[in-house]
C-alpha cells in the first residue's frame, strides 16, 4: 500500500515537473541554456576550423615563396592561389601572387590583382611600386610617375627608407628616359637627403646626377664614394667624367688616372683620360708655359685646325665666318705665313688672334662636319673652356 502511495507521489511529482517545464518562462530559460551550450560548441568548432585554414594557408604560402625565390613562377602562382583560398584578403598572399604572375609574364592578371590591392590599400608602398613598374613597361609614363610618387610617400612594412630610395631611384630613371631632366634633378635632390654614406648608393646617385646634367652634384656624390674607397673604379670613373663635363680637367685627369689604374679594362675612362691629357697639353693659356712653349703649342694647334679644314671639305662659302668677312679657310691661309716661332715671340697678340681663328674653325667644323676626335676634340674643348675670355 505504502509502495503504491510512493509510486503515486513520484508520478505526481514527475507530472508536476512536466507541467512546470511546459511553462513558457521555464521553456525560454531552457532554450537560453541550450543556446549558450550550442554557442560554446560552435565556438570550439570555429577555432578548429580557422586554425586548420590558417595552417593550410601558411603551408601553401611558404611553398609559393620557395618557388618564387627559385624563379619557378608558374608553380608559385598555383601555390599562392591555393593559399588565397584560405585567406582571400591577405595582402601578403596577394602581393606575392602578383609578383609570381609578373614573373610568369601574366602581366594582365598581376595588374588586376595589384589594382584590387590598391583599391583596398592605396597607401601600400609595394603595391604602388609594382603598379608603377607595370605602367612604365606598358608605356603609360604619367600613371607610372603617379604610382612611383605614391610609392615614395607610401607605408612600407619594415625598413621604410631603403624601399623609398629604391622607388625614387626607379622614378628618376624613368624621368631620365623621358628626358624630363628638371623633374629628375628635383627628385635626385630629395633623394640626396635619404641616401647615407653608402658608396654604392652614392655612385648610383652620382650616375643619375650626371645623366640628368647636374654634374656638380654628381661630382659631389662620386667624391663621397671615393672618400670611402679611393680605389672604387666606378666612383673614380664617374668623378672623372663629372669633372671632365665641368671642364675641371686637372681634377678629371686625376680621377681618370685613378680609374684607369683601378680598372685597366675601362676603355671609356681611358679615352676620356687621353682627351683630358690632350686638353691640358694643348691649352696655350696654361700659366706654367714659357713664351716659346706657348708659341709651339699655338703653331701645332694652327696646323691641326688647318688639317681639319682641309679634311672637312666644306666649300668656303659655307664657312664664311660673319657677314662679308673672308671665309675661315681664306683667313687661315692668309695667317699661315705669320705663324712662325719668331713672329709669335715678337707679337704676343698674334697668338691670341691665331687661337681665336683656331677656335672658330673647330666650332664651325664641329657644326658642319663629323664629330671631332683626338686633337680636334681637345681644341674644341679648349675653345669652350675659354669662351667669353
Amino acid at each position: 500500500m505504502a509502495e503504491i502511495q510512493d509510486a503515486n507521489q513520484a508520478s505526481q511529482k514527475l507530472f508536476n515537473l512536466h507541467l512546470y517545464l511546459r511553462q513558457r518562462p521555464v521553456m525560454l530559460g531552457l532554450l537560453s541554456a541550450l543556446a549558450v551550450m550550442f554557442f560554446l560548441i560552435v565556438t570550439g568548432l570555429s577555432n578548429i576550423f580557422y586554425a586548420q585554414r590558417q595552417a593550410l594557408g601558411d603551408r601553401w604560402f611558404h611553398r609559393g615563396v620557395s618557388d618564387l625565390e627559385a624563379k619557378r613562377y608558374q608553380a608559385a602562382v598555383t601555390n599562392f592561389r591555393s593559399a588565397l583560398l584560405y585567406s582571400r584578403d591577405d595582402s601578403n598572399y596577394q602581393l606575392n601572387l602578383a609578383e609570381a604572375l609578373l614573373g610568369a609574364n601574366q602581366t594582365a592578371q598581376a595588374y588586376a590583382y595589384l589594382l584590387n590591392l590598391w583599391d583596398r590599400e592605396p597607401e601600400n608602398g609595394q603595391v604602388n611600386l609594382e603598379l608603377a613598374r607595370i605602367e612604365a613597361a606598358k608605356g603609360q609614363p604619367q600613371r607610372a610617375i603617379r604610382y612611383y610618387h605614391d610609392a615614395v610617400y607610401a607605408v612600407w612594412p619594415n625598413q621604410q627608407e631603403p624601399e623609398r630610395v629604391t622607388a625614387r631611384l626607379e622614378l628618376v630613371d624613368l624621368l631620365l628616359r623621358l628626358n624630363a631632366k628638371a623633374q629628375a634633378q628635383a627628385e635626385l635632390i630629395a633623394l640626396q637627403q635619404s641616401v647615407g654614406e653608402d658608396p654604392a648608393e652614392q655612385v648610383r646617385l652620382g650616375e643619375l646626377f650626371v645623366r640628368s646634367g647636374d654634374y656638380e652634384r654628381g661630382l659631389a656624390a662620386y667624391r663621397v664614394a671615393v672618400k670611402a674607397d679611393q680605389h672604387n673604379p666606378r666612383a673614380l670613373a664617374g668623378a672623372g667624367e663629372a669633372a671632365f663635363m665641368l671642364a675641371q680637367y686637372p681634377l678629371a685627369e686625376q680621377y681618370l688616372e685613378g680609374a684607369a689604374e683601378a680598372n685597366p679594362n675601362d676603355k671609356t675612362s681611358d679615352e676620356r683620360l687621353k682627351t683630358t691629357e690632350m686638353v691640358l697639353k694643348m691649352d696655350p693659356y696654361r700659366s706654367i708655359l714659357s713664351v716659346d712653349e706657348r708659341s709651339h703649342v699655338v703653331m701645332r694647334a694652327f696646323a691641326i685646325a688647318g688639317q681639319r679644314l682641309t679634311k672637312c671639305g666644306v666649300p668656303n662659302d659655307a664657312m664664311s665666318g660673319e657677314g662679308t668677312k673672308p671665309s675661315l679657310g681664306d683667313r687661315w691661309t692668309a695667317m699661315k705665313p705669320q705663324i712662325t716661332l719668331a713672329q709669335l715671340s715678337r707679337q704676343p697678340e698674334l697668338a691670341d688672334k691665331a687661337m681665336d681663328l683656331i677656335f672658330r674653325i673647330e666650332k664651325q667644323t664641329n657644326t658642319f662636319c663629323e664629330t671631332p676626335t683626338g686633337p680636334d676634340m681637345a681644341l674644341l674643348l679648349i675653345a669652350k673652356l675659354h669662351e667669353g675670355n
Binding site: R22, R24, P25, M27, L28, L31, S32, A35, F38, F39, V42, T43, L45, S46, F49, Q52, R53, L56, W60, T78, N79, R81, S82, L84, L85, R88, D89, Q109, A112, Y113, L115, N116, D119, R120
Partner: protein, 589 residues
C-alpha cells in the same frame, strides 16, 4: 477613431475600466504580457534566429571540410579527385536521400512553402539533419549547387521543431516556417534585408504586420550570430562602382535582355529535364546524382573546375577582371549545364549560388564585349558582374524586389541601384513573357502540390470596398436630433435600417421599428443618440479591401463607408448582399 480593424473593435465593444498607470504596468501584468502568444512568438523568433545562425555556421564549416577532404586543399585539383569525388559522393547522397531523408531532395524553398500552406508549419527535424548532411556532401564534393536554399530549409525546420516544443497555436505554427527560413537564408547570404524580402516575396506572398516583426527579428539575430563566427565582411569584394553617363544605362539594358534569355534557357532546362529524370525507373535514382557528378567532373577536368560547388571565389575573381570575356561566357554556359545536371538528378542543394554565378559570369562577359566595341564605357567588370547577378535573380527566380536589394546588400553601393533596376526590369519582363510560370511554381506542380503562386498573388486584382458600395440614398440621422424630428424624416427612407451620425464622431445604426416603438413609449422628446441599442458600429473607407467589409457586414445590416479626410462625411454604404454580389460578378469574370 473607429477604424475597421480588430483592435478598434475591442476598444469599441469592451469598455475598458479606468485603470491607473501602476495597475497597467505592474510586474505581474508585464510578465504575463511578455508571454502572451504574439509577444512570445517575437521572443521565440530571436531564438530561432540564433539557432539557425549557429546551424548555418556549422553547415558552412561542413561544406568546407567536405571540400578539403574530398577534393583536396589546393587551388589546382587532380583529375582523379575531380572525377571521383562528385561521382562517389553522388552515390552516397542517393542512398541517403532514398532511404533516410526523402524530404531533402531539391532546393528546399518549395518544401518550406508546403509547410506553410499544407502541413500547418510542420517540418520534421530529420529534414534539417538530412539536408545538412546531404547538401554539405553534395556542395563539398563539387556538385554545382549552393548552400543558401538548404540553409533556408534547415532554418525553417529548426523553427518548426521549436514551435512544436513551445506548443504554439496552429496559426502561429503556420507562420513559424517562414521565420526560420528568413533566419537561415539571412545567415547563408549575410544579407538580412534580402532574406526578409525573399521570404515575403516568395514564401509568404504578402506583407503582414503580424509576421514581419518576427521575420526581421529572426533574420537579424541569425546574421549577428553568423557574423560573430564568420566575420562581417560582405560576400563579395565589390570594386568601386560609378555611373558617369545616363546613356550607359543602355549597356545595362542589353545585359538585362541577355540575362532574360539566359534565365529562360536555364528555367526551361530544369522544367523539361526534371520530370524526365523523375520518371525514370526507381533504380536509376541511385545513379542519377553520381552520373551528374561524373559529368561535372569531366567538365572540370576539361578546364573549367570553376563550375564545381557554389563558386563564390570565382565570382569574386570575375568581378575583379581576372577572366577574359570569352572564358566568362563559356563558364556561364557550363554552369547552366552543370547546375541542370545536379538539380534534375535530385541532388540536394540550392539554386541561389549557381544563379548568382551564372549572372556574374554572364554580366562580366557582356560587359567585356561592350567594352570591346565601346571602350569609353565606364562600368568595370565588377559592375557588370554585380548587375548580372541581380538580372539572373530577377529573371530566373522571379523575385524582382529581392534581386535589387540583394545587389545593394552585397555591394554596399547605392550608386548601382539604377543600372540594377533597369537591367532587372528587362530580364523580368522577358522571362515572364517567355516562361509564364515561375520556376518555383513549376517545381511545385511537378511534385504534385498546388501551392499558391506568389507571382500570381502579387498581381491578382484586389477588390475594394468602393467596388461594392452603394450610394447613400437613405437619410442619415443625427445623434443630437430629437426622436420627434427624426420620425418626420424616417418615412422618406426606403430601407428599414438607418444610419446615425454620432457626436463628435463615429457611426451607429437603428431600425425604423425601434424608433417607432420608442415613440410609442412616450420618448418623442429624447435624443436619437440616447435611444440607440448599439452605441457604435465600425465604418469603412472606400479603399479598404473588400474582404475587410466581410468581417462587418454580417454583424450590421449596413456599414457606412466614409471619407478618410472627414469621418463624418458619408461616401456610401455596404451591405452583405452588395459584397456577395460583387464577389459573384468578379468570379464570373
Amino acid at each position: 477613431m473607429a477604424e475597421a480593424n480588430p483592435e478598434t473593435e475591442v476598444l469599441l465593444n469592451h469598455q475598458t475600466p479606468a485603470m491607473g498607470w501602476i495597475g497597467e504596468h505592474s510586474p505581474r501584468r508585464l510578465w504575463r504580457a511578455v508571454f502572451r502568444e504574439e509577444r512570445f512568438f517575437l521572443v521565440l523568433s530571436v531564438f530561432i534566429g540564433i539557432f539557425s545562425g549557429l546551424a548555418v555556421v556549422c553547415f558552412r564549416f561542413a561544406i568546407d571540410w567536405a571540400r578539403l577532404y574530398l577534393l583536396g586543399t589546393g587551388a589546382v585539383l587532380t583529375p582523379q579527385r575531380l572525377l571521383l569525388a562528385p561521382t562517389l559522393a553522388g552515390l552516397v547522397i542517393a542512398v541517403l536521400v532514398i532511404h533516410l531523408f526523402p524530404a531533402t531532395r531539391g532546393s528546399g524553398v518549395n518544401q518550406t512553402k508546403a509547410a506553410v500552406y499544407i502541413y500547418n508549419g510542420y517540418i520534421p527535424f530529420r529534414t534539417a539533419i538530412g539536408k545538412f548532411i546531404t547538401a554539405a556532401l553534395a556542395i563539398g564534393s563539387g556538385h554545382s549547387l549552393g548552400p543558401e536554399d538548404p540553409s533556408l530549409q534547415i532554418g525553417a525546420s529548426l523553427a518548426s521543431v521549436l514551435g512544436r516544443k513551445m506548443r504554439l497555436s496552429r496559426d502561429r505554427m503556420r507562420l513559424i516556417a517562414p521565420v526560420g527560413a528568413a533566419a537561415g537564408l539571412a545567415a547563408a547570404f549575410n544579407a538580412p534585408i534580402s532574406a526578409v524580402l525573399f521570404v515575403i516575396e516568395e514564401v509568404i506572398g504578402r506583407w503582414t504586420a503580424g509576421i514581419l516583426g518576427s521575420v526581421v527579428a529572426s533574420a537579424v539575430s541569425s546574421v549577428v550570430v553568423m557574423r560573430w563566427f564568420l566575420g562581417s565582411e560582405s560576400m563579395f569584394r565589390i570594386p568601386a562602382v560609378e555611373l558617369r553617363r545616363p546613356s550607359e544605362l543602355l549597356a545595362y539594358a542589353v545585359l538585362g535582355i541577355v540575362g532574360g534569355f539566359a534565365s529562360v534557357v536555364f528555367a526551361s532546362g530544369i522544367s523539361t529535364f526534371r520530370p524526365i529524370c523523375k520518371a525514370l525507373p526507381r533504380w536509376t535514382q541511385y545513379f542519377q546524382p553520381a552520373i551528374a557528378g561524373l559529368f561535372i567532373g569531366i567538365i572540370a577536368v576539361m578546364g573549367a573546375p570553376q563550375v564545381m560547388g557554389a563558386g563564390y571565389e570565382f565570382i569574386d575573381q570575375a568581378m575583379h577582371g581576372q577572366f577574359t570575356w570569352q572564358f566568362l561566357a563559356i563558364l556561364a554556359g557550363l554552369k547552366i549545364l552543370a547546375t541542370l545536371l545536379s538539380f534534375v538528378s535530385g541532388t540536394p542543394g540550392g539554386m541561389f549560388a549557381p544563379t548568382l554565378f551564372i549572372g556574374a559570369m554572364l554580366g562580366a562577359s557582356v560587359g567585356g564585349v561592350q567594352h570591346f566595341f565601346f571602350p569609353h564605357l565606364t562600368g568595370s567588370a565588377g559592375t557588370y558582374a554585380l548587375v548580372g547577378m541581380g538580372v539572373l535573380f530577377a529573371g530566373f527566380l522571379r523575385v524582382p524586389m529581392t534581386s535589387v536589394f540583394m545587389v545593394l546588400e552585397v555591394s554596399g553601393n547605392y550608386s548601382i541601384v539604377v543600372p540594377v533596376i533597369v537591367a532587372n526590369t528587362f530580364a523580368y519582363v522577358i522571362a515572364r513573357g517567355l516562361q509564364p510560370v515561375p520556376i518555383f511554381d513549376v517545381l511545385t506542380r511537378q511534385d504534385g502540390l498546388d501551392l499558391p503562386s506568389m507571382e500570381e498573388l502579387r498581381e491578382e486584382d484586389i477588390l475594394r470596398v468602393e467596388d461594392a458600395m452603394q450610394p447613400p440614398d437613405g437619410i442619415v440621422l443625427e445623434a443630437q436630433q430629437s426622436l420627434e424630428k427624426a420620425l418626420e424624416e424616417v418615412d422618406r427612407s426606403r430601407g428599414e435600417d438607418l444610419l446615425v451620425r454620432l457626436t463628435p464622431s463615429g457611426w451607429s445604426t437603428v431600425t425604423k421599428e425601434h424608433l417607432r416603438s420608442m415613440a410609442a413609449a412616450g420618448k418623442r422628446a429624447a435624443r436619437v443618440g440616447d435611444l440607440l441599442l448599439v452605441p457604435h458600429i465600425a465604418f469603412l473607407h472606400p479603399d479598404h479591401p473588400l474582404e475587410t467589409a466581410l468581417r462587418y457586414v454580417d454583424r450590421w445590416p449596413i456599414v457606412p463607408v466614409v471619407s478618410r479626410v472627414d469621418y463624418r462625411k458619408l461616401e456610401g454604404i455596404v451591405s452583405k448582399r452588395d459584397v456577395l454580389d460583387r464577389y459573384r460578378e468578379f468570379g464570373e469574370g
